[in-house]
Amino acid sequence: MFISEKYNLLQAKLTWHPFEKFTFFVAFLLGSLLTQNILTPFLIVAGISAFFLSHGLSLKALLEIAALPMSFMLVAVVSIICIISRESFEAIYIIQISDYYIGFSQLSLDKGIFIIGKAMGAMFAFYFLILTSPIDEIEYLLRKMKVPDLLIELFVLSFRFITILLLFSRQCYLSQKKRMAYRSFSSSIRSLGMLVSSVLVKSLVHADFSQQALLNRGYRGEMKFIDAHGSFVLKRLILPIIGMIGLIMLGQFKL
């Protein structure tokens, strides 16, 4: 299941216009990426977390989504924090293994924490967007931003296909599992291969039927839908823009 589907309670509660949400997202993203200090991303993460919690997301769910990118981030940051050298260096912690000195200095530690902060801020900005905007609002934003129709249609169809194929592969996996298909390593590999090939065949057949269904409803190479989001009041942008300027300015202070 997609993260936006799993925690879609925020989407139902928040009735802001998609552009308002998007401007807040840009404010948080720029605030995180253009910062020179650790305080701004920390404020962004804390602010978005408080917003999520106040709108009904449980602390457990919040920690779960925060932990999602951690494994990738820690691997990347460890390579920045750790210093491996043939010569000894000024460090907070250092060990010698054979001819090499491995450790981390105050500077590398500061840099690592700063990068983690920035990345978490940007990540939470994305969470803000995907947890508050259903897929059709994202599609609406892409259309309004004049992204080529072909890419938007690919995005819409891919999302739909992924949901169907995920469901199908889950059912297929369960049916295999109930017949002991994953009892040993070799049978697991074989079963996984069969699962992948059946998903591929299913997707081809499904695509064929979908095309027939589209043609049956007058598809002529262009997908047009009703615009259900109404007009946007520019006044509603004032707060996110002030927030954006404030966060970018705050980020310029070297603390």
């Binding site: 027939q212 049956n216 002529r220």
Partner: protein, 265 residues
């Protein structure tokens, strides 16, 4: 002339499977036609030809007095006259919300502004999909998906509605809802053609029946007559409707038209 006319239509798939073999059929406006037959008898292929997705290799297909040729232009016009609801709603629903999916066909049919809104309201009212309009299709139950799929086709305002196995995998309540939609469409003088294995429903609902086998039409006529023909039923691999079986068993002289009427008598 009938609204739909098929004259000696044959259709063969690229793998040389002859799906339709010399089919001739005429359908009047406002008719309730049921197509029955075993799996692989050609029902779905017939529907795909009727809605212009497949073009027959031989024969003539006439809709509302206009002969359909193998041209894209014909298909683009045909979708406003003949709508097809697929058996599996998953293949039909593709947009990010129910509302958008329903609007797709209506916009392609040239509707916009107030007309579009009125059309959307009408079909959502009829199919009871109003409260689902903001939901993405993958969050719906199977019955809801089926209703949205019907709404999406109805939004194109077709005169003829083809439904392939409309009751497959539906629970009793969802089946009743679908029948209610069909009845409402019939009151609007729409032509409804369904393919189904539910022979009891066919007996009660349809006013014309087509029995198919191996790409050919075995028989066509009123269901009350055809479904009493035991030789035909055996040849087509069909069962006699329950009402007829019971009437025969009880040696009733009259044949009740519905199970409700049977139970009342």
């Amino acid at each position: 002339m009938s609204y739909l006319e098929l004259e000696n239509i044959s259709f063969e798939y690229p793998n040389q499977t002859l799906a339709l073999n010399q089919i001739s059929l005429s359908v009047e406006k406002g008719e309730k036609l049921a197509v029955v037959g075993e799996n692989g008898s050609g029902k779905s292929s017939l529907f795909l030809c009727l809605c212009g997705i497949h073009y027959a290799q031989t024969g003539r297909y006439i809709v509302d007095g206009e002969e359909q040729r193998c041209k894209r232009k014909d298909r683009n016009k045909l979708f406003r006259k003949v709508g097809y609801v697929f058996q599996d709603p998953e293949v039909q629903l593709f947009a990010s919300t129910v509302e958008k999916d329903i609007s797709f066909g209506a916009i392609n049919a040239g509707m916009k502004g107030k007309d579009l809104e009125a059309c959307m309201d009408e079909v959502m009212e009829m199919t009871q999909t109003h409260e689902l309009k903001k939901n993405p299709p993958h969050q719906l139950s199977y019955g809801q998906k089926k209703r949205v799929a019907i709404a999406g086709v109805l939004a194109c305002k077709p005169e003829v509605l083809l439904l392939d196995e409309p009751f497959a995998w539906l629970d009793n309540q969802q089946k009743k809802n679908t029948i209610q939609i069909l009845d409402e469409l019939h009151q609007q003088n729409k032509t409804i053609i369904i393919s189904t294995h539910d022979i009891n429903f066919v007996y009660e609902w349809a006013n014309k029946l087509v029995v198919m086998k191996e790409g050919r039409i075995l028989a066509k006529g009123h269901p009350h007559e055809l479904l009493e023909d035991e030789a035909l039923l055996e040849q087509a691999g069909l069962e006699m409707p329950l009402i007829l079986q019971l009437s025969k068993k009880l040696n009733l002289e009259s044949r009740p038209e519905t199970m409700e009427a049977f139970l009342k008598d």
